[in-house]
Symmetry: C2
Subunit: 221 residues, 2 copies
């Protein structure tokens, strides 16, 4: 007789853990652009050897989060104004489409969950938490689209610019319109108006992009 297959939760490899931890640190801006990522140092931080660290770094490079040079090591990749601009444009395109595809599939539970994040966003006073809550609000709605490949690309593009968004939110004490824009998007979702929700999502992202642009231009001179 056979037992039912137990989901033994294939424990993640060291490389996976290092990758996830570094990814998180980079997108949250904990590691500054240009900072050297020393393999030995990271290995010691995770109580492991350089082999899994190198694997993790290699993956991060594939995602554009770091750049490496032979025998010189890795640094967190910075983005030019033009690159940031392009990523916002890209996000506006695909997230608007994902939103459109999601609306017909939204159920009560999902809308309620989104409402929770929306309220949490408005109430939250710690700027460091906004990035995360904002992401969860949008992701919750997007997931209803049933488009995992789109979702992956949304996450990936957001990863690249998240730390800039967070820096902006922290410095400027929030994007004042963001809360109201979330409300509007959620209202359109409640009404089942896919076109409106899509349009508002697009504007919401482009708005944030414009705000970030002018913030960065001020900062960088």
């Amino acid at each position: 007789m056979k037992f039912a297959a137990v989901d033994v939760r294939q424990s993640a490899s060291a490389a996976d853990l290092v990758y996830e931890a570094l990814r998180k640190a980079i997108i949250e801006g904990k590691i500054a652009v240009g900072d050297n990522l020393r393999q030995e140092e990271i290995a010691q931080m995770f109580n492991t050897s350089r082999i899994p660290v190198r694997e993790a770094l290699s993956r991060l490079e594939q995602h554009g989060l770091i750049t490496t040079q032979r025998y010189k090591g890795a640094v967190v990749a910075g983005l030019s104004i033009e690159e940031i601009d392009e990523i916002f444009e890209f996000r506006a395109l695909i997230e608007a489409e994902v939103m459109r595809l999601a609306v017909p599939n939204l159920d009560r539970a999902t809308l309620d969950k989104a409402r929770t994040y929306c309220d949490a966003f408005d109430r939250e006073t710690d700027p460091h938490r906004w990035g995360e809550i904002n992401r969860q609000f949008h992701t919750t709605l997007y997931e209803a689209s049933g488009r995992p490949y789109y979702l992956q690309n949304v996450q990936s593009s957001l990863d690249r610019i998240d730390r800039y968004l967070r820096a902006q939110l922290t410095f400027t004490n929030g994007v004042p319109r963001a809360g109201r824009e979330h409300e509007a998007i959620l209202a359109a979702c409640e009404k089942g108006d896919a076109d409106l929700a899509s349009r508002l999502t697009r504007d919401h992202i482009l708005d944030a992009g414009r705000a970030l642009m002018s913030f960065l231009r001020d900062q960088r001179g």
Copy 2:
């Protein structure tokens, strides 16, 4: 006195070479879905050790080209009908947009280059070459958009489905409309009609997608 700086071509690492070679083999369909990728075997093929091979495999997994399981190894990732469908939908969205952005920047040289590939596509009799030429035709035009991030995503999504397209082209002896559709797209580009070029690109991709879908449904039963 100084010599002109010689581009010493930072020689790529073994991991880079292995990655590129495997990527090419996978997207061209030289390695079948489900085939085991043995680290030792690959290492011997490239006269190297398993370390760079593992790095390469790790990157391939990040791009969704293979899947790995701890202690079990890597296999080329197959795509379900639904996944393929979603990727075509995604491509239609972003490639149409890239085309729209490219048209205003197209110059004579680029158009001529695209014309060359377009003609080559029509003349080519070896089905195995179509995939490559088709890709070059589109990429040539897309590059004028000046959107590297979009381009990267275009390549990445094409990588995932290229081998299915190639299989289809080989089996069905070509997609009859593809040549005419290329002509139409190029004509719209010559006219500078961004909207039309964009719309035709979208239809071109959705057409190919529909053809591939019915081909695969027949094949898979």
